[in-house]
Amino acid sequence: MISLNSLRRRTERLALGQNIRFARKGSIVSIEEKDPLQLIAGKRTEQEATFISTVHQGPERELARPFGIPDWKKLGILLLSSITPILFFTHNINLDKLILNWKISFDVNLVTSLIIIVLGVVAIVPKALKNPMLWLSQKTITSLVVLLLLAAFFLFKVLNLGTFSYSLDKLDLSSGIGLLCLGPVVFLAFRKSVAAVAVLVAFFLWWGFSIRGFGTETVVDLFTSENGARLLRNLTPPRWEYFTRVIDPMLLTVQTAITSTVIGVIIALPLSILAARNTTPHPVIYNVVRFLINTIRAVPALIWALLLIPFVGLGPGAGILGLGLHSVSVLTKLFAESFESVKPQPLEALNAVGANGLKTFRWGVFPQAFPLVASYSIFNWESNGRDSTVVAFVGGGGVGFLLQQNLSVLDYTNVAVLLIVLIITVAIMDRFSDFIRSRII
């Protein structure tokens, strides 16, 4: 055991009172010399770290051999713990269903406030314990206050979230035990075993493909279906007289894309300043904006349009606002990421000439991030052009609306015209945005 020996040597050297040099990673200054007593009290030394890693990860992989020395013990565990789940999942080993009749119910307000407090404590306390100065910093105090206010907001039922209830009648034992058997594989995957990761990916994909109603017969149907063939025959020849009535809705679709993108960019720019780590005025604001944006993004644009109909009525308005809202959420994230990716040195220079946060953003962050910001905006315009077709299903006007009308009366010759126009328009927008992007960068 070489590492044990080195550890012993280290202790001996400490006893002799010799100084050991080490550099702390990530800190601005490297610590060249330290008191032996301080060293013991300090963090893990390099030797300790290597000692720990050798104990946990087994012997070093021999780099000269293409596959290293196979670790038979590990491979055996891997094989066993990937075959047993297969047997369970395919019900080759069949266990009965467990009758449970469990009922879970809790007050959502109470649990939400508890979760907020626990998450806050997890985010703040370990950092502050390491660095006691943080307790008194303005950032920590504001974070705590906001956290408590949020928790109180939910606790005192300002917004009543009701009671959650879920009843679990029976449990499929085979699948449950199969999942448990995968435990060692997950453990090995975290220990950076490539084979274990491959096994996990394989299971994940297998689960994805095991949908009832999708399989080889789907592919067979695709090529042998009578109805499908009739539909394809019906699409041609397109009824070109219909074309005159398509142009205006098509232009409306492009207009919708423009309006919603402009709404998106105008709102996303200031929001993204708050949502980027290096430009945000306060971590609390950063987290709040991020949370808001992620919530909005989780709901598709079509659903937003549907939800907005009660506010603005049926028509292009709902569609534009829905798309705009979706653009805001997507663009804020992308803009914020492009702000975070700028080089920090010019920002230091701006700081040194006496620029405040706003000026630093305008002259340091924005010029560097501009190509990304512009190309994301144009890309968003293009994708809004595509999405507005779907959103127009619910709002009046636009190609989407005509498509839905014609599809519902099975008028496929008209649908063919609509599709051709749609494809050409999207292709033109695509070329156009590519051209502009190539000019900016």
Binding site: A349, V353, W363, Q368
Partner: protein
């Protein structure tokens, strides 16, 4: 309180007493630093990597807060200033970086105009409006470092030496009463080193701006400096004119932490 932007220059421009800097991780980067700078002085700071040279410069213009001691710049006590007042003071302190720190996508002229940004209000800074006075000042600074012909080209098209000259022009456009340079020539070849140092020295002499330069290369320091400050392990070991710097001092300044290792000045 004294106006930090007052134009009357006292003979002693920077006065540092018992400056101390302890990083949050408990590492003492600087301790017992005391010296003064007079107007027009060209001072080089020498020392090993990690001795605290960069920390010292960043303390002087307030980029990082001090842990103790007093720092008077142009008659104003820096440590008691609010953040807003620090910005006002910092706009008159030019800072030159090793990596030039220009904004690559902007033109040379815009980069120099950034030096004027501390004087603009938020609105005109956001709109990017610079008055004719600002522009003339920026063009004059560019001319001062012989870079006027590149005013319209983008900063990332320049060579290393040109970039550093633009950075000097940016500092000049600030109308500084003090220039700090942190390893300004460390990424330049010997020929460019000489030119850039020459520029810095000329500006210090002609504009009467005291300049504090961190530098690795001892020969360059000896050639240009009026005065040399040697720092090791966060303490000043030498402070005086170049001719007083002996090999004994150098041995102390460049002494290795490893007792077995011999410095090149110990032979």
């Amino acid at each position: 309180m004294q106006n930090p932007n007052s134009n009357e220059t006292s003979p002693v421009l920077v006065e540092i007493k018992d400056l101390r800097k302890v990083y949050p991780n408990g590492y003492e980067a600087l301790s017992n630093i005391s010296f003064t700078l007079k107007s027009g002085e060209f001072v080089c700071i020498i020392g090993r990597s990690g001795a605290g040279k960069s920390t010292l410069l960043r303390c002087i213009n307030g980029l990082i807060p001090l842990s103790g001691g007093s720092l008077r710049v142009n008659g104003t006590e820096f440590t008691t200033l609010s953040d807003q007042e620090k910005l006002l003071l910092r706009r008159r302190i030019g800072f030159i970086f090793q990596e030039f720190n220009l904004v690559d996508r902007l033109t040379v002229l815009r980069n120099v105009l950034i030096g004027r940004i501390g004087y603009k209000n938020d609105l005109s800074a956001m709109l990017g409006y610079f008055s004719q006075e600002d522009r003339e000042k920026a063009l004059w600074s560019l001319k001062r470092v012989n870079m006027l012909h590149r005013a319209k080209s983008r900063a990332d098209r320049l060579s290393g030496g040109e970039k550093q000259r633009v950075a000097i022009a940016r500092a000049l456009a600030q109308e500084p009463f003090l220039i700090l340079a942190d390893e300004p020539v460390a990424s330049l070849d010997p020929e460019l080193t000489w030119e850039v140092m020459n520029d810095l020295q000329t500006i210090a002499r002609e504009e009467n701006v005291p300049t504090l330069v961190n530098i690795h290369d001892l020969e360059t320091a000896r050639h240009f400096a009026d005065r040399i400050i040697g720092i090791a392990k966060g303490r000043i070991l030498f402070d005086g004119p170049v001719r007083d710097l002996t090999s004994d001092h150098l041995r102390e300044i460049y002494r290795s932490n490893d007792l077995q290792k011999k410095s090149r000045y110990e032979i």
